[in-house]
Amino acid sequence: MNFWETITGNDLTREWKAFEARAGALPADHRAAWDEIKGHLFLYGDFTGRNLMPILDGALGLLEETATDGQSIHEVLGDDIAGFCAALAGGEGARSFRDRWREQLNRNVARKLGRLGG
């Protein structure tokens, strides 16, 4: 059974619709990124949709939050959306992505605090 069937075949449908409604409210490029993220996560063959929901939820939450902040998609995800998705699902490369996020966090803090003028 593929992910779509799993999703549309049971009670996940409602949660899924809620996701899509939220995604619909995103600015265009964020919404495009959402579609791309979904596409990549579906590649993770054998999951049962439910396990994936919190991960999708987290990704969508990130997109919503950064859209509100006016951050560009590139600023948030970088070039490698596939790698980002692998990291989200905890698969290969998750560790190196976590390291990157860590560096990003410290770099952003340093840059923004610097802009504040100390």
Partner: protein, 108 residues
């Protein structure tokens, strides 16, 4: 269900963000970057809300003590953030565990 609930728990989330906005700019910057990091990593502890409200509690104490944010938590914000979620599995961990213990089987 999950992380987004704390955002959509509207009134609560708005109250939470109002507290964040009342912090000095340097604290706000660090808080927002930390939150973004947590959203990416996806620790389960994020869902019950105590992780983020705990950070704001702690930050408010730091402000009251007249400290700058980096003075309070050190320069390595990522290390501080990781320390906060050290004991919390992430959604990805749970997902990976499920697919490795039940290969190819669908959930009931």
């Amino acid at each position: 269900m999950g992380i987004h609930d704390i955002i959509e728990g509207k009134k609560q989330w708005r109250a939470h963000m109002a507290r964040v906005k009342a912090l000095p700019p340097d604290y706000q910057i660090v808080y927002k970057e930390m939150q973004r990091y947590f959203f990416k990593v996806g620790p389960v502890a994020l869902a019950d809300g105590s992780l983020l409200t705990g950070v704001v509690d702690f930050f408010e104490e730091g402000v009251a003590a007249g400290k700058g944010v980096l003075e309070l938590i050190g320069n390595d914000v990522a290390a501080f953030s990781d320390d906060l979620i050290k004991d919390s599995p992430t959604y990805a961990d749970i997902y990976q565990e499920r697919i490795s213990t039940k290969p190819g089987t669908a959930e009931e």
